[in-house]
Every structure is written in structure tokens, then in C-alpha cells.
Subunit: 151 residues, 2 copies
DNA sequence: CTAATTGCTCAAGTTAAGTTGAGGTCAAGA
DNA sequence: TCTTGACCTCAACTTAACTTGAGCAATTAG
């Protein structure tokens, strides 16, 4: 039994539901730190379980590990989130969620305005929006549905 | 001037706002087809502009090229979407958007129920939801916030 | 003590949706 | 004809968030 409070990675994995490789990956990305025992194996603190759980929640809410890393680094002394921190940060999450919902709703409204319009041949399609598209990771096209630049 | 209705790829790129490489990529993925002239260069039909515009809109609405490919392949004779097709398909889009919005709203509600709850140490966190997470492309963790399996 | 388990590092693979570059060809206008 | 500029193919690179595998070391239960 591990009755010290230095947990090996497998234990942390079991307790958080994360995979061992994911935890190592988070350590590499500096979302968590672990010190090593004499044999060079990682030993985590109990509080790291909470920290990793926080990461999971934030991910479920759609945040990237880069963003999560920033959130965690902004905590005083880079500590693991406390209840007070959580209250504050969850409001950030809430704002972001609201924004994403609003974006989708705008998209839906534009779509509605477009369903019967035969857009596919029009120049002034309501779905022509260079801004707030899902904006994944490419450059993103600038005109849509036959809308042409200067031709 | 190109007064035939076989458009070279650069022209199609200008008219759709897509990059040349993106169009080639779509061809490779069979979202569009182009035949070749004597010199081996692609020549597109005017209707391909509409087809590519459709692809862009569907992408803005959050559909993957795989999904879009399916939609296009389901069209009779794999034709380019007409107004009638658009009306039908846009309803599919609408449904999907609605579902995504609903998912985010559920997430927001769960978050609200969790903001003041000090969850970070609880076992029955409202944010513990194995299902409808943003579900990107990994296996996805199964328990959250210190919620433990059978320990 | 020893076998089984767990852990370690490092490199490479995965998916999505393209982009970038090298090296070479084609087409169009002067 | 000659020279741009547009086009061609193919391979490799990009980001995100990990996973998988190889080859080897440490721990632990019996």
C-alpha cells in the first residue's frame, strides 16, 4: 500500500481516470509537476489529483491545454485550484460558454434566414460572414456562396 | 480570357475565395471532380463554384469534410446542390446546430450548479459527465474531479 | 531472490484540414 | 519565340492532444 502521500503515476491515473501517458504529457506541458524518487520515478502529491481533475473539467468545457496552462499559471504561486479559485475561474468558463453559445445562435439565425432563399446563386448571402466562424486552425476562406471579390 | 466554361483552378480559387491547394485537396477527397485538358491541367465547371461554396458554408456550420462528402454523395447522381437540395440540407444543418447549442447549454447549466459548490473535492460533481462532452478525438476520460472508480 | 508489475525515455504514429516547397511543365501574350 | 505566370505532382510539415511501441530500469509481492 502507498501510505505516504507521494503517489506513483499509475495510482494518479486510476484516481483521475486519465491515462498514464496523458499525465506524462501534461507534465511535459507543465500543467502539473512531479518530483522523482530515488529510482527516478514520478511521485505526485494528493493535490495533483485535484489539479488534474480541474484540467479535465476545463477540457470538457472546451478549453485547450494551452489555455488551461495559462489559467493554472495565473494562480498565486502556481498552486492547485482551491474552492475560491474555482469560483472565480468557473465564471471565466461561464463567460466563454456563453460566447460560444451566442456564436452558434447567430449562425443558426443566419441559417434560418437562408433556408428558403436560394442563396446558392446569390451574391449577398446571409451566411457570408468572414468573422466569428468556428475558426479552427486554418486561414479560413473569405467569401462564400459565389460571392466574389472583385470580378 | 476564358470564355469557355471550363475554368482553370486559379480562376475557381479567385471566385470562391478558396486557396488553390484547398481545392486540390477537396478533389483528392472527392468533394469535387475536375477533368483535365490536353496538357493535364484541371478544368472545372461553373457549377463547381456553387459546389465549393456549399462546402465552405457547411464548414462554417461546423461540419467536417467527411460529413460534407457524405452529404454531397447522397445527392442524386452526386450532383452539385440545387436550391431544392439546399433547402433540404439546410434543415439537417439546422438540426445539428440546435443539438450543439443544446449540448453547450446543458454544460452551462451544469457549470452553474457547480460554481459555488466547492466541487473540487466532491465525488458527485455535476460536471461529471462521461457522455456528450465536446468529444474531440481522443478516448476521453471517464471520471472527473476526484470522482474515483472503485477505490 | 525472483518474477511480475509498473515505470522510464524517446521516437514515431494518429486525425483534420490543409500549407509549403521542390522540381518540373504548360499556356498566353508581346 | 521567349518569357512570365499559372499549373502539375509528390513529399513533408503544421497544430492539438495524446497513443503506441521499443528497449530498458525500478518496485513489489510472494
Amino acid at each position: 500500500m502507498h501510505r505516504s502521500d507521494r503517489l506513483p503515476i499509475g495510482e494518479v491515473a486510476r484516481r483521475t481516470g486519465l491515462s498514464v501517458s496523458a499525465i506524462r504529457f501534461y507534465e511535459e506541458r507543465e500543467l502539473v509537476t512531479a518530483d522523482r524518487n530515488s529510482g527516478g520515478q514520478r511521485r505526485f502529491l494528493r493535490s495533483d489529483i485535484r489539479r488534474l481533475s480541474f484540467i479535465q473539467i476545463a477540457q470538457q468545457l472546451g478549453f485547450s491545454i494551452t489555455q488551461i496552462g495559462s489559467l493554472l499559471k495565473d494562480l498565486p504561486e502556481n498552486r492547485t485550484p482551491t474552492k475560491r479559485d474555482w469560483t472565480r475561474i468557473s465564471k471565466v468558463f461561464r463567460k466563454d460558454l456563453d460566447a460560444r453559445i451566442a456564436t452558434l445562435e447567430r449562425l443558426r439565425d443566419r441559417l434560418d434566414g437562408c433556408i428558403g432563399c436560394g442563396c446558392l446563386s446569390l451574391n449577398n448571402c446571409a451566411l457570408y460572414n468572414p468573422d466569428d466562424s468556428a475558426s479552427r486552425h486554418g486561414a479560413g476562406a473569405r467569401f462564400v456562396l459565389g460571392d466574389q471579390p472583385d470580378v
